[in-house]
Symmetry: C2
């Protein structure tokens, strides 16, 4: 079970706004879904170092980002609820509370991917896009894995959203929860200690909580 | 320049709340700072798959998380400003606008790491901790890289914060910016297209912007 292919030195163009001289970039492991690289770098003061990083192999040519995260606001019976998903994440070894999210498919825009992933993961549909973010990076010291965050409004009283039905891949197991936006941070802080949270969701909840400053 | 060591099969205990049967976990590349793994998994319906992931080798034994991100609110001349940092990130190949952040050192608490990293990266000191988050994961489909988000208040009018001086590592090059919290999202949206943003900062800014819902 290797699911890897040959590795080697790759071409390296130092970006114009890079303060380092980069050299010896190598793909040290190349898998079906991700590859691991390392590169030498030399700072302007002559100090040298090595940076090791990981990169997805799955980003479609021309896609705006690797994936999307969705802030879906369900208006239902006079309340505003945020759709959350809970699933076991193999890399973390833990159950993780997250915003709905997924990789962008070939030929999709970020908004199309957001509406498709929301429907597949949660069953909610007829989502209207309110905001699409700038390109952002999930863990820029480690990886170029990137996302666009898409805010959508969902009418929870619409007939098609009364009994939403997921359409998951054969190996997926995802629980859907709705939490009032004003209660997000309290909900996260009171989670059972066996459940962890994804950073974008946590940071959004913190922004909501700390928006008003005295 | 390999900076790697032998790899092989590792022990694997399936967590109690894991819906998959895990098997054949391998470290497929083991570097000085990170390692790449893959594992087979079998869903309850019998469907099988393989998950490839990356893991930091640098987390101190007993540390709360791999690192911290800091939401530092500087009160200065009647305004509330958030401290941001801008730096070239080798894994992304781009200049990235981020919250101040860093890895937790051996023996440090999350709060100690936050105050130290803030001082080193930005020069701001005498920070008072307002909030320390639950453990969160930056990119849980790809890695177990984790952080604690720490909110601190900084008196920007205090003498020690009038001319803050960074204390960077020899290869670091970090620009410090202060942006009014209420203007964070506008600032991010108007960034030059050559500059990207880190997800936790973007999500926090979105939370601030969308806190009030009609």
């Amino acid at each position: 079970m290797t699911l890897g292919s040959p590795v080697g030195v790759v071409d390296l163009i130092t970006p114009a706004n890079c303060p380092y001289q980069l050299y010896n970039q190598e793909v040290v492991w190349n898998g079906k879904w991700i590859q691991t690289r390392q590169v030498g770098f030399r700072a302007q003061n002559g100090q040298e170092g090595v940076w090791q990083s990981v990169h997805r192999n799955t980003k479609p040519h021309g896609a705006a980002a690797d994936g999307v995260s969705i802030i879906a606001r369900v208006r239902k019976a006079g309340k505003v609820l945020i759709i959350l998903v809970k699933q076991f994440r193999i890399p973390t070894g833990k159950v993780c509370l997250e915003l709905p999210a997924g990789l962008i498919d070939h030929g999709e825009t970020s908004q199309q991917a957001a509406i498709r992933e929301l429907k597949e993961e949660t069953g909610y549909t007829s989502a209207k896009v309110v905001n699409e973010s700038k390109l952002c990076f999930l863990d820029p010291g480690l990886t170029d894995d990137s996302q666009v965050m898409v805010v959508v409004d969902v009418d929870g009283d619409a007939p098609e959203n009364i009994n939403p039905v997921q359409n998951l891949d054969a190996t997926e197991s995802i629980e859907v929860l709705l939490v009032e936006q004003s209660e997000l941070m309290t909900y996260i802080e009171n989670l059972d200690s066996s459940i962890v949270v994804e950073s974008s969701l946590l940071a959004y909840a913190m922004g909501v909580k700390f928006a008003s400053l005295v």
